[in-house]
């Protein structure tokens, strides 16, 4: 079943870009297409190179970390094991990475041996970010990080995302239903409708845009 009908996105290095759209517009599929979780036609260029179509493992090893819908947490494993898995494709010592993770998520230190599935929603989302960070990716793909979280947690998550972008130089492509916060944090935005990009540009412009305000910002 074809979900996307010609999606063209460009994300500059070091920026945060967001993809907005209603349910079923194809936002999740877009991310899956990049990480090779689903089959795609078309070209994905990363850092000048064309990505092969063969499997998510290859994409992960090239420095793209995808936090999927539902967070992809290994609920049956411990917090620590989840982080170790994040570092799976890295060579050499990951101790320093782990210490950096703790600076963003200090609560993890006390909960290392807790089963990841018993964490709260907000904690699982943070664990997912931490796991992705352990991959030391160049590009972070985030699928609806705000899903199911209380507003105060959403603000916190996006604060961390912005910090990761600014401090670590992580390029982020975040797909979001919560257009408010996404447009605040991102520099560039794309709007997807029925599998097509209908609008794109700097977020400030889109925030002021008539139809965006009506459909996605509610005023």
């Amino acid at each position: 079943m074809q979900a996307l009908h010609g999606v063209s996105l460009a994300v500059a290095e070091g920026e945060i870009a967001t993809v907005l759209g209603a349910n079923g517009a194809g936002k999740t599929t877009t991310l899956r297409a990049v990480s090779n979780t689903v089959r795609r036609d078309g070209v994905v260029r990363f850092d000048g190179r064309v990505l092969s179509r063969h499997g998510p493992e290859a994409v992960a090893n090239l420095g793209i970390a995808h936090v999927p819908e539902g967070r992809g947490t290994f609920a049956e494993l411990t917090v620590w094991e989840n982080l170790r898995l994040g570092a799976y494709s890295r060579r050499g010592s990951v101790k320093s990475d782990f210490e950096r993770v703790l600076t963003y998520f200090p609560w993890i230190d006390d909960r290392r041996n807790q089963q990841a599935g018993t964490l709260s929603g907000g904690e699982q989302q943070m664990l997912a970010l931490a796991r992705a960070f352990m991959q030391r990716p160049r590009l972070l793909l985030l699928d609806e990080p705000s899903l199911g979280l209380a507003p105060v947690l959403v603000t916190e998550i996006f604060r961390i995302i912005r910090e990761l972008n600014e401090q670590e130089g992580l390029t982020v492509l975040v797909v979001e239903q919560n257009a408010h916060i996404a447009l605040q944090v991102a520099q560039t935005a794309f709007v997807l409708e029925v599998g097509r990009v209908v609008l794109s540009g700097p977020s400030a412009d889109l925030q002021a845009h008539e139809s965006v305000r009506r459909s996605y910002l509610g005023y």
């Binding site: 998510p56 493992e57 970390a65 995808h66 999927p68 799976y88 494709s89 796991r131």
Partner: protein
């Protein structure tokens, strides 16, 4: 509405039990262990049957562990596990015919078993891994194929390998323990321990667990899921080889040597909970001891009924705990 509510309640109840181990089960097992120790101290026959039962159970446990490994990774029961174990034992036999020492043959066989298991997964299972029934049927076909090939190459008559642990019998008081039984127990416990270390402490083990639990998420962190599955089958074949090599001293080498063991291993694996390696081991040991003691002390339980009794126990346990002693309803997520 009603059903949605019932599903949610069931989910909540299963979520907070860590590792599928529940207190009543642990208490029951501790009580059983105490019973065995006390009985052994009181009666030498009891002790003998218990130790022999443990050794038999260790073999069940080894093969059961193979089944669990494969089930966890691919949600399939490998009906050919016993025959694969048998074939690798014949391979060891051939090596001894070529003048290798027993233990050299043993370890070389383990290596070869690993390759065998991995090749089977890649060549026969991977192409149809989306269809559970197709995979099951293929393992059935493999069962028959291996049986035919082995009988063709080596014949159906009994063959004998050198005894790995010698034939000595130790005496503690009036209880006689065979060196073979003790050796079997040791080898099995060792292999289980090594496996545990692999899964708990190594990167590879973690990747294998991740690939079995959530293949899609594992792929996203760079785990080559297919490769992990092949390795899983390889390790399962190694465990099977250990089971086969430890069975040979008692029933000797014949094409049908592992068929009954496979059935007991099924019972043990399900008893322990198909997704729990610890369960497979405890299930196997418990089954071995139980069958021996029942056979000794209950007159009605003659040898023809050993197998039905094993399965009757299994069915009773399943009625009380539908997912085995250590199992829990796993919601397979992607």
């Amino acid at each position: 509405m009603e059903i949605a509510r019932r599903i949610r309640i069931r989910e909540r109840r299963t979520r907070n039990i860590g590792g599928g181990v529940s207190v009543p089960v642990v208490l029951f097992l501790v009580a059983a262990a105490i019973f065995l120790v006390v009985g052994s101290l009181v009666s030498p026959i009891f002790a003998q049957q218990t130790v022999a039962g443990l050794a038999q159970g260790a073999i069940f446990a080894s093969l059961a562990l193979s089944l669990v490994l494969i089930y966890r990774a691919t949600e399939v029961i490998n009906f050919a596990q016993g025959e694969m174990a048998m074939a690798t034992t014949y391979f060891a036999y051939q090596l001894t015919l070529w003048h290798l020492s027993y233990w050299a043959a043993f370890f070389l066989t383990l290596l070869m078993a690993f390759v065998f298991g991995a090749v089977v997964q890649v060549a026969l299972i991977r192409p149809v891994q989306h269809s559970v029934i197709a995979v099951v049927i293929i393992t059935v076909g493999l069962f028959v194929l291996i049986d035919g090939l082995v009988t063709w190459k080596w014949g159906a008559d009994l063959k004998f390998m050198p005894a790995p642990f010698g034939n000595q019998v130790y005496h503690v008081g009036s209880v006689a323990f065979s060196r073979q039984d003790l050796g079997t127990l040791l080898v099995t416990i060792l292999s289980v321990l090594l496996l545990w270390v692999l899964f708990k402490f190594t990167k590879l083990g973690l990747a294998m667990r991740a690939a079995a639990l959530r293949p899609a998420s594992a792929a996203l962190v760079g785990v080559r899921v297919n490769r992990m599955l092949a390795i899983g089958w390889g390790l399962a074949a190694v465990l099977g080889a250990v089971a086969g090599l430890m069975t040979e001293p008692t029933v000797f080498l014949q094409p049908t040597m592992m068929q009954a063991v496979l059935l007991y291993a099924f019972a043990a694996a399900v008893l322990g909970g198909l997704e729990s390696p610890a369960g497979a081991v405890i299930g196997g040991l418990a089954l071995g001891v139980f069958l021996n003691l029942i056979g000794q002390y209950v007159g009605f339980a003659t040898s023809e009924l050993r197998l039905p009794i094993a399965f009757a126990v299994l069915l009773v346990v399943l009625l009380v705990k539908p997912h085995g002693l250590f199992g829990r309803k796993q919601v397979r997520r992607v």
